[in-house]
Symmetry: C2
Subunit: 460 residues, 2 copies
């Protein structure tokens, strides 16, 4: 190992941080269907979106023309704190698996927010600041996005109001504490601070909350408070755009050593990680150049791509957001409470959904959480990084593909995204350590209940 | 900032990882006084130490001749997982303080154990494995050392038994979970598994434990179990030796840009961090070359250097370990329970103690924890890294020195060690956030009680 030409960590230099994001929508053969206004069911206009999102982010959300969008200087400055992130050659994992495959992972957990979410949080906070806003609202489930946004707002001196899924805020007091340390206000959702929250509580006083409900509260809080806008950590086009920095850096680092991946793997909840990691590689595919096989990994307990419908649906439980055409389990679907970590969202990024529908995103694969945690623990032991449960979904499939290479003798090059650390997910590891963790797969009847709540326009 | 010649992060390449540790004992003008056998009060011999420590570590502990000691290949391989660690130019902090000072920090928190402790853990685990041992025992307080050792033992397939100070194991269940995830057995101390633990429990059934007591239990468990040895995460010469990799890398990175520090700052509990960071710089000082001013920072609540005695004392509460000549508050001293994080040890590394006594370690400074957490939160906001409370002691003094530069207009170069992340210390941050944290300074009477327990040989 000491003599390898390719180092364990491929570090780009600071002046190799990309200066522009890659907008994969400009590459797509088929544009994804437009979002629809929840009242009129007509395609949303910029005017519809401006009360909810910052002006510059509205423009990014709707931009399907410009392949590259310049990263503002203050965002680039902030990126220098923790970027370029390392691209790691997983020599130790390869050895443990005795595989001829060459495995690389892009590690995004090295910043204090502990995940890739910071890449979009700082951009969204910057545009809010630039517009002269007082603050932003958002929701968080497992807590990665809320933490990232708190850091970003703390940096720019913006007020930050986070609606945190109630069960998460109770199970993860330390996540909440990190956000508060960065100056954010954290409200367990559903709460009495919004109309929609009060309605949810009236309907079910014992509810543990859901991401869809927290989104509804955060949107209501934003549009009803002077000087505030709403920001979101995944699903949206703008978020995938900002996350493209992950893929751009990974591609540049691999090219330094003449490497190009045969397989690209990303976990997918709302799609921001996979969408970002794959952006420039998908650009190659769509332009007819050599490109890897793309695999999206989702939890078997929340299988929006593998078992969901490609349909118009609401992005939230309260049905206050625009409708998006996406793979969805229905906005009423709530994954089993024993499911650990994030990746609990009922839908999937419209960009990824369209690419999957059109066959450019080659495969979606659902994996059970017991297998995911086995992979996580092996990885932690041999690679020295304790992964977030979300990231471990990608590790599971990377290991499975590397084991196939051991069988076939093929030396494929595998790239996956290691999106975050598991420091705040130790309760889930404890469950796995003491044997109380269980797999859960929704029945067809469970899914039918979610689909029953799809709006009439779903089939359009 | 974008145009600065010195990057935000100075990354050495993998082939610049030092191949040998720096043994500062070979540089010292006055050797520190030898450890004494607890029974005979005579200087310990290698034969006295071999039942407790691995053979190769006994040799390192007693080696005051060889300036450089080669790092074994398997340890170097493991170092490649997470080293070289970044040396960061704190541009954002400099700007926030409006200081002409140039501030650098060596960041050791980027590995999963979250601290510098891994540098010695992997070396000690390797030597145990090389000797054919089954496992090792140790103690941990705040949990950094136990986590690091668990990772190291998991890597080499060694059994790892950790005695964790009872109050910590209750307050930090997730720290415990990380160790268990890496395969370690964690026993709250005092426990019923050792004679000394049973005696402590009989004397005080409600005791919350202490580091000194956990050391006694771990040593007893090692010497009474076939195929086991004891390992320690600080204080000892061998640990400072292994940690010298921190200083060697920092010096090499600074020299790339023609920089040399005017001030070097490290937090000091048992001394492993400061001892490691300063090693090559202290080598310069002792050889009459240009060297920085050295500052050790300790908590006002556990002020071994600023208010302790330079005396022979036991390293543990149970008085089973050899006696060391060091700055000490007495092995019976227990810091206030409201003190957050590590740095709770009653004594100080004999190497650092001797250098301080002889005037080569220029200054020890005690700081209160309210000021420490204020510094930590400012740093987290502007530099994007949430520091461990231990590390924040060094940040406090680095900020104070940088503010002095603002007053005087001097552009001093300041280097400090950022030893770890605060991910597992959020309970302490919560105390600071909600205003319930308090400063505590022991009274002279408190200290007198600790000194009263010093052995008769103390004055030698």
């Amino acid at each position: 190992m000491a003599e390898s030409k390719i180092p364990y960590k491929i570090n780009l230099s600071e002046n190799e941080i990309p200066k522009a994001w890659h907008n994969v929508r400009a590459d797509m053969k088929t544009a994804h269907r437009p979002m629809l206004h929840p009242g009129t069911l007509q395609p949303v206009t910029p005017d519809d979106l401006r009360p909810v999102f910052c002006d510059r982010l509205v423009a990014q959300e709707l931009n399907d023309k410009d392949r590259f969008i310049e990263i503002p200087g203050p965002v680039l400055d902030f990126y220098r704190m923790y970027r370029p992130s390392p691209l790691v050659r997983a020599y130790f994992l390869e050895k443990a698996l005795d595989t001829p495959a060459r495995i690389y992972y892009k590690y995004e957990g090295g910043n204090t927010s502990g995940s890739h979410k910071l890449n979009s949080a700082i951009a969204q906070a910057y545009y809010a600041k630039e517009q002269g806003l007082k603050g932003v609202t958002t929701e968080t489930g497992a807590g990665q996005w809320g933490t990232a946004l708190s850091m970003a707002c703390g940096y720019f001196g913006l007020d930050c109001r986070v609606y945190m899924v109630k069960v998460s805020s109770e199970q993860k007091p330390y996540r909440k504490a990190v956000m508060e340390t960065y100056g954010a206000t954290v409200t367990p959702s559903p709460s009495g601070t919004t109309q929609i929250g009060r309605k949810m509580l009236a309907d079910d006083p014992d509810t543990t909350g859901s991401l869809g409900c927290a989104i509804s509260e955060a949107v209501e809080a934003a549009v009803s408070t002077e000087g505030y806008r709403y920001v979101l950590g995944s699903v949206l086009n703008q978020v995938l755009l900002h996350q493209s920095i992950v893929g751009l850096e990974a591609k540049a680092a691999l090219e330094k050593y003449g490497e190009s991946p045969d397989i690209l793997i990303g976990c997918a909840g709302g799609g921001s990680n996979l969408g970002g990691l794959m952006a420039p590689f998908m650009g190659d595919r769509l332009a007819g150049r050599k490109a890897p096989r793309f695999i999206a990994v989702e939890p078997a307990s929340c299988p929006s791509m593998t078992r969901g419908r490609f349909a118009y649906d609401f992005c939230d439980t309260g049905k206050v957001t625009p409708l998006a055409k996406m793979y969805t389990l229905g906005s009423a679907f709530i994954p089993a409470s024993n499911h650990a970590g994030g990746l609990r969202y009922h839908g999937m990024s419209p960009i990824l959904s369209q690419l999957y529908h059109d066959g450019y995103l080659d495969e979606a694969r659902a994996v059970g959480q017991l297998g995911v945690f086995e992979a996580a623990k092996l990885f932690a032991k041999v690679e020295g990084l304790l992964p977030a449960p979300e990231s471990a979904h990608a590790i599971r499939v990377a290991i499975d593909e590397a084991l196939k290479c051991r069988e076939s003798g093929e030396a494929k090059t595998i790239l996956f995204g290691l999106t975050g650390t598991g420091y705040f997910d130790m309760a889930a590891y404890m469950q796995h350590n003491d044997g109380t963790m269980e797999d859960y797969v929704p029945t067809d009847a469970d899914l039918a209940r979610g689909f029953a709540g799809l709006p009439e326009v779903a089939a359009e």
